[in-house]
Structures are given as C-alpha cells and as structure tokens.
Subunit: 441 residues, 2 copies
C-alpha cells in the first residue's frame, strides 16, 4: 500500500494537536456539568425523512447504503448521517419523552457530517458541542439568559482568541417591522440577515422589492440594524426610533434581561446587536451568534436561539433554547496554523529507564506504584544506553526520567538536568508537569 493522502474536508489531528482538542472538550464538558447539563449521545444516523424536514440543508446529507443489502432489508428505513445535533436531539426528546424529566437540560459533543464542498473553515466532518434546555408546553424566558451565561462560562479560561456573543431577539425585530407596517416580517428578517454580505443599499432595495417597504420603512429597518450596545442602553435608542408594538416591547424586555445579566456575570462578552437575524425560520426569541473579535467575516463559531417548537408530537409541544459551539471550526484552523500546541505529545510524565532487559518486571512494578498515585508513566522500550533512553523521553516531551543506581531511585528533570534521589511513595512532579498543557503562540 502506498502512502495514503488526507481526505479534503475530513481534518485529522496529530497526537499533540489532539491533546489540545481533548483538553478543550474536557473544559467545555466540565463547564456544562457544573451547570447541571447531562450528557447525551445520539446515534450517528437518522431516517432520511427526519433529516429532510428542514429543506435548507437537505442537499448536504450523506445517505447510507449497506454494501450487501438484500431483499429482506426492503423494510429498512433509508438512513443518513446527521448534519447537526439539534435534529437528533428533537427526535430523542419525542422518542423518550415519557422517560425524561422536564425541563430537561443536556449537552452533546459529537461529530456531524455535511456533504458540502470543503472550503475555508468548512468541513465535511466536524465536531459540535451543543447545550439545550427543553421544556414541556412552556419554557420560561430566564433560560434564554442562562444558556448565554453557560456558554460565557464554558469559553472562559480557554486559550482562544477573544470572542464575543452578539444577541438579538426575534420578537424585537419582528415587532419593530410589524409596528412599522411591514407585513412579511419573516422575509424582512431574512433580508436583514444579508446586510453584512451585500451592504446597506442592496439591503434597502431588497426590502423595498421583497416586502413592499417604503424607502422610509427600509431606512428605519437599517437604522434598527445599526444599533448595538454592551448594556440595555439599546432600549432607549430603539424607542427613540418611534415605533410602538406590543411584540417589540416583549422583545426589548427579554433582550435587556439577557444583556444586563450577561454584563454582570461576564463583562464584555455579550453585545446586543440588532443586525443579528439568523436565517432560520424556527427561532422565536433570543438569537445568538459568537464571533472571533476582528474576524467576524469568518462567520460565527457558536450560534443558536430559542425555538418555541423544538419538537412536537401533535399532543405535546417542547419549546427549547440552545447554543451550538463549533469545536472544529474554532480549533482546527488554530491548530493547523500552530497557534495552539501542547507541552508534550504523550500523557506520560515519567519514563522509567532500564538498566537491563531483565529488570523490566521490577521497572513495571515501579511504574505501577507511581500510576497508583495518578502519575502517568511508561517504561523504556529497551535497555539502551542511558543517553538514548533520555533522547526517547526528550523527543516526546516527557519531562522526567527515573532510574536506579547505587544511590537508590533517582529522578532527572531532563529539561534542567536536575537530578535527585526520591522516595517512590511520596515524590510528585510539579502540578504543571503532571499532564500536558495547552500553549498558545
């Protein structure tokens, strides 16, 4: 077999890059669990009819077939790989509703697959980390505040470029358009969603052509979209535009609550931004998009919103609010550019050197004593010259080599060359050396 080539759109990591990804995912998991979110893992496949319910993404689905399917399988439903974690979660909630306690909060960290053409920051297989809170019948608005705070907490303390969450509220925008006298408020939202791409003039024209807006109405929509603030001062700015509508008022109250709570809990993280529209129809309240500061053109690295009908089985409706962090989208470019790295490429903290191959059982026993106290250890591959054994450690970034000589058990820090006799039952590496750490360039 000749050397295989990477598959475009299916990024894979080297061991030291994977250590970074693993620690970031561990950090997210820990944050989600501290906020009481339970983990779920759904199967990778869904019946095609489930996946095609949202028209918009249907073109991206990978369809499965069994290589040797036979007649007896005719009854098998056609299956495809999930393209997000929301569709499987909604299906899971309906399937297991009788066994779940609502409000139900879950996180889910899994790969998703989209058959789209791979290009800058877009992959065919990538990891997402989702949180959602779903309730039965009614979902209180305070959860729209909470999920923003959970994500603020989860992204805090990670060695990532500075990110900010831009929030808006569907009721606010749609109420404003309604108050202006625009009828097709959903279409107006979809047009405003294009503002950053096509510019003010083209957007105004689309509003005039697409939703029968007067030039004055279009101008008011653009004025609204230009408002942003880190606190609830946007409320007065919007009121100053002179539009009155009960839905607008609801939206103002809800958005102010999100922004004020976030300003108190995570100063500088959340900004109210009236041009955030999110193209998808199913959002009904707060909508969120997180951008890398100064790199907004790359698109959001985390997004979500409130949907009054995450799932419904005809009898019951399950409203929800959630956010999805694009783990691969955030990390893979930083890893590939060498902007994030790990202090070593193995978990190993100590290499136990061998004087002679016959000592291997004794060295294994020494390794087990350290492992029993949580220290990752491996034993040297061979009783080569001591310099060669040190080189083995050095190449992998293993900081300590343990060896036995006439003076007893010695541990050498191969970075400094410092060496000392140690007691195997009490010696500990410095806390920062116990596990690999992430370093940022």
């Amino acid at each position: 077999m000749s050397r295989p080539q990477p598959l475009s759109g299916f990024p894979e990591l080297l061991p030291r890059q994977r250590i970074v990804e693993q620690q970031v995912v561990d950090h997210l998991r820990r944050a989600f669990e501290l906020h009481g979110f339970a983990n779920l893992q759904t199967r990778a496949v869904e019946p095609m009819d489930q996946l095609l319910r949202k028209g918009e993404t249907s073109k991206e689905v990978y369809v499965l077939r069994r290589l040797q399917a036979d007649d007896r399988d005719a009854s098998d439903a056609e299956l495809g790989l999930h393209f997000d974690l929301t569709v499987p979660f909604a299906r899971y909630v309906l399937e297991n509703a009788g066994k779940l306690n609502f409000p139900f909060r879950r996180y889910q960290i899994q790969p998703v697959w989209r058959g789209e053409r791979p290009q800058g920051g877009r992959y065919r297989e990538f990891w997402q980390a989702d949180i959602d809170i779903v309730d039965l019948g009614e979902l209180p608005a305070h959860y729209e505040v909470e999920v923003a705070l959970v994500v603020a907490d989860a992204l805090k303390g990670l060695p990532l470029p500075k990110v900010r969450m831009h929030v808006n509220n569907r009721k606010l925008s749609q109420g404003f358009y309604q108050g202006l006298g625009i009828r097709d408020t959903e279409e107006a939202l979809r047009i405003i969603d294009k503002l950053d791409k096509i510019g003010r003039d083209a957007t105004a024209k689309l509003l005039i052509d697409g939703v029968d807006a007067t030039p004055e109405q279009a101008e008011a929509c653009l004025k609204l979209a230009s408002i942003s603030a880190e606190d609830s001062s946007f409320v007065d700015e919007i009121r100053a535009l002179g539009v009155a509508d009960p839905l607008l008022e609801e939206g103002l109250t809800e958005l102010a609550a999100v922004v004020d709570a976030a300003a108190a809990a995570a100063p500088g993280f959340v900004v109210a931004d009236m041009k955030i529209a999110r193209g998808l129809d199913y959002y009904t309240g707060t909508v969120y998009e997180v951008f890398i500061e100064g790199e907004e053109h790359l698109g959001s690295v985390c997004s979500g919103g409130r949907y009054d009908k995450l799932a419904s089985d005809g009898k019951n409706t399950y409203p929800g609010v959630g956010l999805s962090i694009g783990v691969s989208r955030l990390l893979v470019p930083l890893l590939q550019a060498g902007k994030l790295d790990a202090t070593r490429e193995v978990p190993t903290c100590v290499l136990v050197a061998l004087n002679h191959e016959d000592d291997r059982p004794a060295s294994n026993a020494i390794a087990q004593r350290l492992r029993a106290r949580g220290i990752p250890v491996q034993v040297s591959p061979s009783a080569a010259k001591f310099g060669k054994q040190i080189k083995f450690a050095d190449k992998r970034g293993i900081p300590f080599v343990l060896f036995t000589n006439d003076e007893g058990t010695q541990i050498k820090d191969i970075r400094s060359g410092d060496q000392a006799t140690v007691d195997l039952d009490t010696w500990n590496p410095p806390a920062e050396d116990l596990h690999p750490r992430i370093t940022a360039a």
Copy 2:
C-alpha cells in the same frame, strides 16, 4: 410528527445510563493515559478500497453517497464508514509516519458501524476502545505482555461481571501443527477456532478432511486445544505431547512470559488457553480474547493480538500489538437489564431554591460561588412552593437543596431531611455525593 421508534441495532441510552457509560469510558481513558497511551480520533470514513482490503468484513460496510452529488464530484473517492478502529489506525500510521515517534502507543475510543443483521449483542453502531503499540521495522515481544497488563488495569475497578483474558500464541499453535507434520497450519488454526461451536468429533473430521491430518495428528491437535492454565505449567503439559519444533519453542517462551507477568501483576485475570485461535490471518504472535466468566457463549468482549504487518508502505513495515474493548457490547446489555445504574440522572449536586423570581440573579451568584469550587449546581426553574422545588430535585436524584431564610444560607440533604446553616465558601458535599456514581444491581 408522531412518536419516533428506536432503530434496531442502534442502541441509545437514557441520561442515567449514559452517565454509567461516560464514567466507564473515563475510567478506561484514565487507565490508558496512566500507561502513556496518547489519544487519537480518526475520521468516521475511509475510502472503500481501504475498507475492502480485508475480505471477511466487506459485506458489513455502510457506503456513503452525497444526496446531491454532481458531476464535479466524480473524482471524489467512494467512502464508507469504518467497521473497526484498526483499519483507520493503520491508514493513519502510514499517512503520518513521518510525523510520529515510534514505538507509538495510542488509544482510540470511537463508534464503529457494521451493516450486519442486528441480533443478540450485535449492533450496527457500537463503541470500541482500542489500544495499540506499533513500531517501525521490529516490535519487541515485551509489548505483548504489556498490552495485556494495560487491559487488566483498565478493566480493574469497574463494576462489571468478572472477566478473564484467554491468551494463546500463533507461533505455539502453528509450530505444534508444523512439528506434527501438518502443512496448512493456517487452515488448521481456522478449524480449531470452530471447536467450541462444533465440538470435538466434527473438528477432528474437518482436520482429517481439510488439512490431510491423520486421526492421530487430529487427536494431538485436540489434545493441545484442551490445555489451559493460569501459570506457565502449560509449557510442561505441551512438551509432554512430544512434539518438537523451533517455532513451537518460540511460542512457548513468549506465551509463558505473558502468563507469568500477568499472574504476578493481575492474579487470576489471564489464563493460557490453547484453543484460542482467532480466525483472522494477520495475527502472528500472542492472541487475546476476554470473556465474561460463565458467559463465554456470548463471545468475547475484548480481543486482539500481535500482527507483524499492521501496515506497510512497501518501504517500511509497521508491526503492532493491540486489543479492542467492546464498550457497547459489554455495557448495553447490562444497562438495558438494569444491572448497572447511576445514583442520579444529572451531574447536579445542589439545587439552589428560589424564594421569588426576582432573586434569580442573586441565586445565580450563589450557584457560581459553588461552581467555582467544582460543585455542580443548578438554580430552581421557578419560585414554586418549597415542596415543589424539593420534588424537582428528588425526581432527578439531586441530593442537596440550598435555600436562604432568616437564619442565613441553609443546605438540606433531601434524602435524610437533615438541614444546616452553611458557609458558602467552605461547605462541601460528602465526596461520594459530588458526582453521580455507578451502582450495580
């Protein structure tokens, strides 16, 4: 949408079952890392020509197609979902050989997919946890001892039924057959692999018909297959059969080393068992199969072996040794039978009760103070009557409810009803209540 039905062969877990699975996987991961194994995650897909290299499993592959593939994609390689973690690992090693340090030890915990008919303990999507050590050119035999010890360590301390690892060595069996005068030793191995299913007489007949064995040779093969021991006493038993062959001697030495080391490090876990053959052609040294004791008929829950040619690019050859733990195969039946459970269905240790909805920001602040010390907390969904808030905690198994009254901050253990005034900056739950724990029925 009506209530969706589960898909046969794609097991999914309820939140409390998932907590068990998550903790088992965490335990395996920790054990592998303590032994210096680095984690890898490979993509879910491989080109079909890679997947079809092993004829045996080709019928089980799920092939992918993009729903809206167009002409420009004609150059795309046909892709399928991986059916194990060995084929992707071998491909990864070849693809990245220049960037890896050998010997390279990695673990990989991912789902795999097989399109086979779902039946008792067989799934179409299931999780495996693999460890492998791979080297460039030569792989010392001591790694065949080591991987057995790592798996012994990894399975130790899990609330699972008692399992035992049955080991044999290909050189031993093939050397013995060779010494007897049987030519097609690989076919003889494949026949002996069927012994448990078809019995002694049918096996003897197959040996006579299939590899031209005399009745005496067939009898000697069956005698060898009947030998098993928890220590290296099997060596003398085999020698007593009077067959001499250099390959047999190598196998005896290597298997004795594995069994003796394992008997010292993990007494009772490993048993030398000469009827273990493993049907696959590519094993060349030690072979391993782990069975649940008394449930050997269910098949192995972990298996593997040494292969001298895990991968080869024509110039270099990469021998390896590895084991694969069938995580779903081990856990799903136990979870579905209710034999394993978790002490609660959420990570949450403390529910912060609300006196009034206006107190939510203050309650969030209290929750954050506890989270900062690693305690998973959530705030009550509403300022309902206190009894209702306790019921919310009780239904999920959350052990503690925190509330504020005239006497200050109180924490109630809702299982005992005990209640005490606490200092938020020093209170800790008992260690066994901090996180959910696994319980075994």
